[in-house]
Every structure is written in structure tokens, then in C-alpha cells.
Symmetry: C2
Subunit: 184 residues, 2 copies
């Protein structure tokens, strides 16, 4: 995704930085990931299902087989059954004082290239929206680059509005570190 | 704040909606508020201090007394001592897969009108930045309306950058509720 957004020079995540901050808390109350798991036969039920979420299952029929050159690198095994990770959505709660309600903020929505244009992105984002409704939350929000016309069209088709007036402010790097010893 | 942003028609928070979602978890790991408490004499220490945060104290000298017509409505009492709430900042953790690190997202920064232009806004936002550095977080982010030139200047003076290309996407109201029974 960083490459697509022309922002790879800003991407400094590592396996250890990811694992030290993710997968530490129950779903929905902090950083949460829905994984897109793909298999040509039904995926067996989880051995330790989460009490707060039932995996969503859906059958897709493809006209032609998908050629996934990185299939093995993105596979996990449920017993003997190979399951391919096709994408993910990472989201977490946010809060609106206007609504007086929490919502979800979607940080990343990603489908691996060979699985695009098949409805998986819509499935992942819809799953977040459905969970937000289930929890009584008031909004689902995310950001998009203003030149990414395809993404904007896709989001608008899903019912989202692009807000023209708001801009993101970011304090990071040395400018943030300067506050370490600030006499606040 | 809703009035200033010309968005009062979108503001539907109530006392009960606020209290049912805020003040429920320890600071910093979910929705967190720093309150600006003002008093003409030193504020006594908390009876139950938080192990994760020491209140920041600062002495300000005003040239002329502040006329606060809503003083009593915004007061709390520490024993006999009247303490005025002058503003607040509401923030919560976010997560960047680019950095592989959490950050803080600032939802609201508000100083009551009669206490503005005295450095309190800077104090509140700096306190969030300082806490982010303390926790090893990578960013502090918030949003601003593109016509709010005074706010943008203030934020830039604090070291923040305004990102020109990103736009917020929002799924809310009926468009969100439509996902309740969606066949995801």
C-alpha cells in the first residue's frame, strides 16, 4: 500500500514493531484487524472462537483461477488446509464529541493485487460498518488521497461522503520529540 | 466549539451520551481527557492520584483579572476551594502501520472564550505531545478546517504540518445504518 500511495519512503514498520503493539487486546476496544482468509474449501471453525465476533463466511465464484505468485508467503495452515491471506482491514475506536458517541477509524484497507476487483475490499469495509452498527457507534471514518479517484468512487458507492474542508495536522519526528523536555 | 466551527446543527451530544462512553477506562489506552483547572491559589493534590499521570501545574500571571460570566456553571470544588474548568483536550490512541507505532489523535482542543490568548491551548496540546513522547508514540494528529487560518498558524508554530492531500471519508447516519442487515 505504501508503494501505491507513493509513500514507501515514510514506511518504517517492522515485524517486531507490529507485534509489540497489535494483537494485545480484545477486538474492537483497541487496534483491531479483520483478516481476509481465502481457501478453495470451507475453512474449519476456530479452536478458540472470540466471544465478541463470529467470522463472516462468503462463497465467491471466479470465472478464471487466480494466479497468486506469492501464495506460499501469504499462507497459514489450519491443520493440513492451506489458507491464503488475501488482505486485511485495520481499525480502532475513535470518539466524536459532536455525536457523543464512539465510532471506528479505519487506518488501512488492503487487498493483495491478484485478488482485487472481486468484491473483497467491499466485504472488509462492510464488515467494519456492520460491526459499528452492532455496537451502536455513530460513524466509520478513514482518509483518502485527493488524487485517488478510483478509491473515492468506491467509497462513495459504499455510502461514504468525502469531507472537502477538513485537513489533517500532524506532529511527528523531531518536532514531536522536542516536547520530551518541554516545560508544558 | 460547534458554534465556532459553524457546525452546531451537527452536534447531538448529551450529558448521558458523554458519560456512558467516557471516563470508563484508565487514561491513554482509550478516550482520555486532560482538564484545564484554574484557581487563584494552589490546587490541593488529588486524593486518588492516577499511577499513570501526574497533573501538570503551572503559574500564570495575568495583567488584568479575567471576567468569567459563567464561572459558577464551570466550577468544581476541592473541599472549600473553587476550581474553574477553563478548557479541555480529548484524545485517544490511533495506530499507523507506516510507523508500526501508536500515536495520539486529538479529537477536541477547547479553551473557554474568556481564557483564550493566554497560552492555555498551547499548554493542553503540549501536554498531549509530551505524553506521546513519554509513551514512545510516533505521532500526534488532529484535523482543522481549511479556512481556520488562526488555528493553522497556531498549530504550525507548535511544530505540526498540515497535510494538503488527505481527505476524510465518513460513513454515518442512514448510510451507516444500512449496513445493519447487509449481507457482507
Amino acid at each position: 500500500m505504501a508503494v501505491f500511495e507513493r509513500l514507501a519512503h515514510l514506511c518504517s514498520a517492522t515485524e517486531s514493531s507490529l507485534s509489540s503493539n497489535l494483537f494485545l487486546s480484545p477486538p474492537f476496544h483497541s487496534f483491531t484487524i479483520f483478516l481476509l482468509e481465502l481457501s478453495s474449501s470451507p475453512i474449519p471453525p476456530l479452536l478458540s472462537p472470540s466471544p465478541s465476533f463470529t467470522p463472516i463466511e462468503k462463497t465467491f465464484n471466479f470465472d478464471i483461477p487466480v494466479n497468486d505468485p506469492e501464495k506460499d508467503a501469504f499462507s497459514i495452515y489450519y491443520g493440513d488446509q492451506q489458507v491464503i491471506i488475501g488482505g486485511f482491514v485495520l481499525f480502532f475506536p475513535n470518539y466524536s464529541t459532536f455525536l457523543g458517541k464512539p465510532g471506528f477509524y479505519v487506518e488501512d484497507l488492503f487487498v493483495r493485487e491478484c485478488y482485487r476487483r472481486k468484491g473483497f475490499g467491499k466485504m472488509l469495509l462492510s464488515a467494519v460498518a456492520k460491526q459499528a452498527v452492532k455496537m451502536g457507534y455513530g460513524r466509520v471514518e478513514w482518509v483518502v488521497l485527493d488524487w485517488n479517484v478510483n478509491a473515492i468512487t468506491f467509497y462513495e458507492q459504499m455510502g461514504a461522503k468525502v469531507l472537502p474542508e477538513w485537513r489533517i495536522c500532524r506532529l511527528t519526528g523531531d518536532a514531536l520529540q522536542a516536547y520530551q523536555n518541554a516545560n508544558v
